[in-house]
Amino acid sequence: MIDVTLLLQMVVAIFAAVLIYVFIGFIPGTDETSVLMPITLTLVLTGVQPMVVLAFFISAIVTLNLTNTMPTALVGLPGGVMSSPMIEHSILLKNNGKSATIIRKMAAASFLGVLVSLPTSLVLASLLAPYGSLIQPYASYLFVFGAIFLSLISKHKVLSLLSIIPLAILFQSLRHLYWGLNVVDANVNITTSFFLGITIGPLMVSLFSLLNKDTKQKMETDQKKEIIIPYESKQPLNPFKLLTKKEAITASVSAFFSNFLFVLSPVGLTILFGETVGNRFKKPIEKATMSITTMSAMVQSTYLSQVIIPLIALGIPLSPVAIGPAAALFNATGVFTIENNIHHMLTLPQFVLAITMASLVALVVVYVLIHRYASRITKVILTYIPHEAVLGVFVALILLLSYMDAGIINVFGVLLIGLTAGTLNKMGVNYGVQFMTLYAASFIVSTLAGWSM
C-alpha cells in the first residue's frame, strides 16, 4: 500500500518539477533532453523512491511542453526542440496580431493532448504489458532494428544507414580504451555522458566553427534582435471554450492516434500531423491556427505515450523519448539497469497513481499560471537571461557528467563524440538513429568482431 510519507514526497516532487521547469521552459533554446536528463538522473542517483522519481519526471515533461510553447508563440523563439516546427506558423500569426489569442489556444490544445493521451497510453501499455517479458531477451536486436528502422523512415536514408556502424565503433572504442587503461571497471558501461555528447553535438560543432576566424567573420552582423511581446488577453480559462469545435476535435484525434506510433520520432510526428491537418485549409491564418493547435496537443501526447508505454509495458527504452530525455528512468549507473529499472520495481496501480497524479496536478497548475502571467514571465526571462548563459550551462553540464563518468580523459572522449555526432547531425542523421546506435553499439561491435576473426 501507499503510505502518507510517500504521497507527500510525490506532491513535493511534482511541485518542484513545476517550479524548475516553468522557469526553464520559458527560456528559449533549452533542449528538452539536456534539461530533463541530468536533473532526473540526480534524483535517481540520490536514491529517491521510484514513484517519486516518476512523478517528478511526468510533472516535468507536462510543464516543459506547456511552457516551451510560450516563447515560441509570443516572440517567435523556439522554447525547445519540440516547438521548432511551430515557429513558422507562430510568426505568421504574430504578424497578424494574433499572439495573445493563440497562446491561449495552444495552452488549451496542450491541455486536451494530456487529457487524451493519458488514458490512451495507460490502456495501451497494460494491453502490451503481457508481451513485455517476451520481448526483453531480444533487446539488443531491437536496438539494432530500431536504428535501421529510424534510418529508413528518415529523410536521409543511405546517409543514416551508413553512419550506424562507424558510430557504434566510436562508442565501443572509447569504452574499450577506458577498460584497457583501467580508467573504469570492466563491468562499467558508460552511457550517460556519451548520450549527452550526442545531444550537445550540433552546438559543439557550431562553437568549434566559430573558433575559425574566417567562419566567424562571415557569421557576424551588427543587428540585435528586436522582440515585441504582446499582452495576455482576458479570456475564459475553460479549454473547450477557447478552441473551436473543429480545432478541439482535430487536436484530440491526432493526439489519440499518436499513441499507437510511440516508436516514431516525436518531432517527426508533430510535424507530420500538424502540417497534414493545416494543409486542409486555404486561408493562411486558419491554416496556421489549425497546425499550431494540433502541434501543441501532439507535443504532449507523443511525450507522454513514449514514456508511459515503454516504461510500463516493456522495461526497455524503445521509443525516442524513453531513449532520450527519459533515459535515466531505464538506465542510471549504479541504480537502474536495462534488466532492473522502474519497470521492474513498480506495480501497475503504482504506475497509474504516480503518472495520473503528476500529469493532472502539473497540467492544472501550469495551465492557470500561463493564462495569467505568460507575457510577464516572458518579458522577465528575455530581459535578464542572456543566450550566452544558457549555452554556458549546457557546456558545463556535459563537462561535469563526462568527468564523473570516467575522469578527464572522458571529457575529451565526449568532445570527440560531440563533434562526430554533431557533424553527422548537421548532415542529416537525426538524434533517434544516433541514440539507438549508442544502445546497440556493444552488440554491433561484438558481432562484427566475431565475423572478423
Binding site: 533554446g29 552582423t221 551588427d222 540585435k224 534582435k225 535578464y384 550566452e388 548563459a389 550551462v393 568527468y403
Partner: protein
C-alpha cells in the same frame, strides 16, 4: 558600428561573452563538484549542479541579453 553579433541556436550572442560564460560556469561547476565527498556519486552531481546554478547567476550579473524588447500596445 562594428559587426560583432553572431546568431547561434536561434538567438544572438557576442562570441567573447559566450567564451567567458562557458569558462565561468564550467569553473564554478567543476570546483563545486571537487568539494563534494569523494566516491559519492549523488552528492558529487548535486554539488556540481549547485555550482552550475552559482555560475549561471554570476554570468547573469554582468552579461546582458542581445535583444531589444518592447511590450506591444494594448489591444485585442
Amino acid at each position: 558600428m562594428k559587426k560583432r553579433f553572431v546568431e547561434i541556436f536561434g538567438d544572438m550572442i557576442i562570441f567573447n561573452d559566450l567564451l567567458l560564460s562557458i569558462l565561468i560556469i564550467s569553473t564554478t561547476t567543476m570546483s563545486a563538484h571537487l568539494f563534494a565527498p569523494a566516491n559519492n556519486r549523488p552528492l558529487g552531481l548535486l554539488f556540481g549542479l549547485s555550482g552550475t546554478v552559482i555560475g549561471f547567476i554570476i554570468v547573469l550579473s554582468f552579461i546582458k541579453p542581445k535583444r531589444m524588447i518592447k511590450m506591444e500596445d494594448k489591444h485585442d
